[in-house]
Amino acid sequence: MLLSLEPRGQQSSLMLWCSPLLAAALTLGSGSLLFIALGHDPLLTLHTLLVAPISDLYGLSEWLVKALPILLCALGLAVAYQARIWNIGAEGQLLLGALAGSVLAVNFIEVQSRWALFVILLAGTLAGAAWAGLTAWLRTRFNANEILTSIMLNYIALNLLLYCVHGPLKDPQGFNFPQSAMFGDASRLPLLMEDGRIHAGVYFALLALVAVWVLLHKSFVGFQIKVLGLDKRAAGFAGFREKRLVWLVLLVSGGLAGLAGACEVTGPIGQLVPQVSPGYGYAAITVAFLGRLNPVGILVSSLLMALLYIGGESAQMSLNLPQAITQLFQGMMLFFLLACDVLILYRPRLNLRRKRRALATAVQQQVGAL
């Protein structure tokens, strides 16, 4: 082969961080090609997608509003993925958090105390953790594959949510729309600025960021999680209890996703609607990988992902491009990342000379045979 891969023998720490950048660049590059193919001006489209939405204060606040749930979910997923527990269920855990928070909130509409909000957020977190706990239980008790169970629980959570907004939680004065009543003021997250939707959930996200960083990089439990992820048998020999760690990582990641869901309904939305999440839980998977399962990396990549979300909306409005462009870019980015990651362990090598020499040897042999 003209181009071959040569093992480096060790991880290249330069490529470890260059690969996500390369992946983002490749995504933008192939995105531009796609826009050209569709007859759009690529520069203008990229501007509409990535610059225009955040060029004013309102846009910046919307950017953070979108980044929040993605960041919370992705932080949780990073903890699970460090242990090689493939939790794909952040979406369902987020929905459950939103649902549990809403069940309380519609009963708290008359409550004036700020405790209402606290209880709602706590309930959301616990519900998300419990939903992930189901996956943990099925995995540790019955050895059931966590990828498949957590995916299935996503679909179940979505149907549960649909059932609730069409049934028990439907606003009696809502003209039969599938949505709950608006929550009371005491159950809403306080806004941080006058004319934007950015809310106090930002503090939770920052807190979670620090907590996950400490957990993964400064604690013994984090060390155990990483060992389990690198080599299950080694973790066993070291006496780390696998089942307990599986429970822990899933509860943490479910709890954070649940908190994200509760923040969505008490923050920007203010009621329970069927479309609580435009796929935040799935986007978080890409974000976690793109951020290298590192809290700071995840912060950066969740901002990038949130930008794609609001960019997708503005591209739909001003250029009439399908909003699915967000998901398309998301998938492309993850794909390019995995492809670029080959450079961490391998060095690409052009074999021009060797090929010519091989050809020459082959010719010589043939001549010799004649």
Binding site: L5, W86, I88, L138, F142, N143, A144, N145, I147, L148, T149, I151, M152, L153, Y155, I156, N159, L160, L162, Y163, H166, G167, Y282, I285, T286, F289, P322, Q323, A324, I325, T326, Q327, L328, F329, Q330, G331, M332, L334, F335, L337, L338, A339, D341, V342, L345
Partner: protein
Amino acid sequence: MDIDLLSNIFYAMVRCGTPLLLVALGELVCEKSGVLNLGQEGMMLFGAVMGFIIAFSTGNLWLGVLLAMFAGMLLSSLFALVALVFNANQVATGLALTIFGVGLSSFVGAAWVGKPLTGFEPVALPYLSEIPLIGRMLFAQDLLVYLSFVLFALVAWVTLQTRVGLIIQAVGENPDAASAMGLPVLAVRALAVLFGGAMAGLAGAYLSLAYTPMWAENMSAGRGWIALALVVFASWRVWRLLLGAYLFGLASILHLVAQGLGLAIPSSLLAMLPYVATIVVLVLLSRDKVRTRLYAPVSLGQPWQAGH
């Protein structure tokens, strides 16, 4: 329940089970060769949208089916490149394929949502379709369902009776030994992945051209994932796959049964049933670790490179 209702339920069960059977057959071959491709959902959706667009624009349903299979293969070749050549983690690559496929199909299909199409119509075979109870189920289906019967027989024959089946199994059980015997491990795996892609594309075409002839975002509704569970359910054995696919088909049409019994259960709750059933099945079959280890291809999901 009267016999007509029962016959209807059987008929709908096979219709519902067909897309599951098609994807699961592809994934079975793929997993037997040692590759775990979690991208079924994405390939299925891309097949569905491409099949629909082609059939709608050309008016030729079979051309749609063909292009859908090609579309599935195209996506699976991306998977093969990243997972087999670049040796990336198969779980992550499969997830990427699903996310990419879902996004790509929604993007491509945005202008085609809700357009009407006359899909494959049932073709009742004379006499045979009049057999009570099973006649309608087996002999009054559309052509793609008949095709799924043929493909099932083909996969069963190849995996159980032929040298090709043995080669696939050897590559999946022990790639080092297979390679030492001179088998091209990566080529066999790549072909198995491509076959899986074609089957997923076909299953997608079945959804958008026969089952509900239209295109809607995410119309596969997790069937690609259920098929992955089905392969575990079947313990990687082809006959149990057939049984499993139709059992899951039955679980997805239980609202018909409920109507027949005169029960009023909200549709969102009934819609959960296939997913709940998947979890229950996974629990029942994975409980025994030894058993799972006995039947699963030994090298499933592990990257492999020549000379390591």
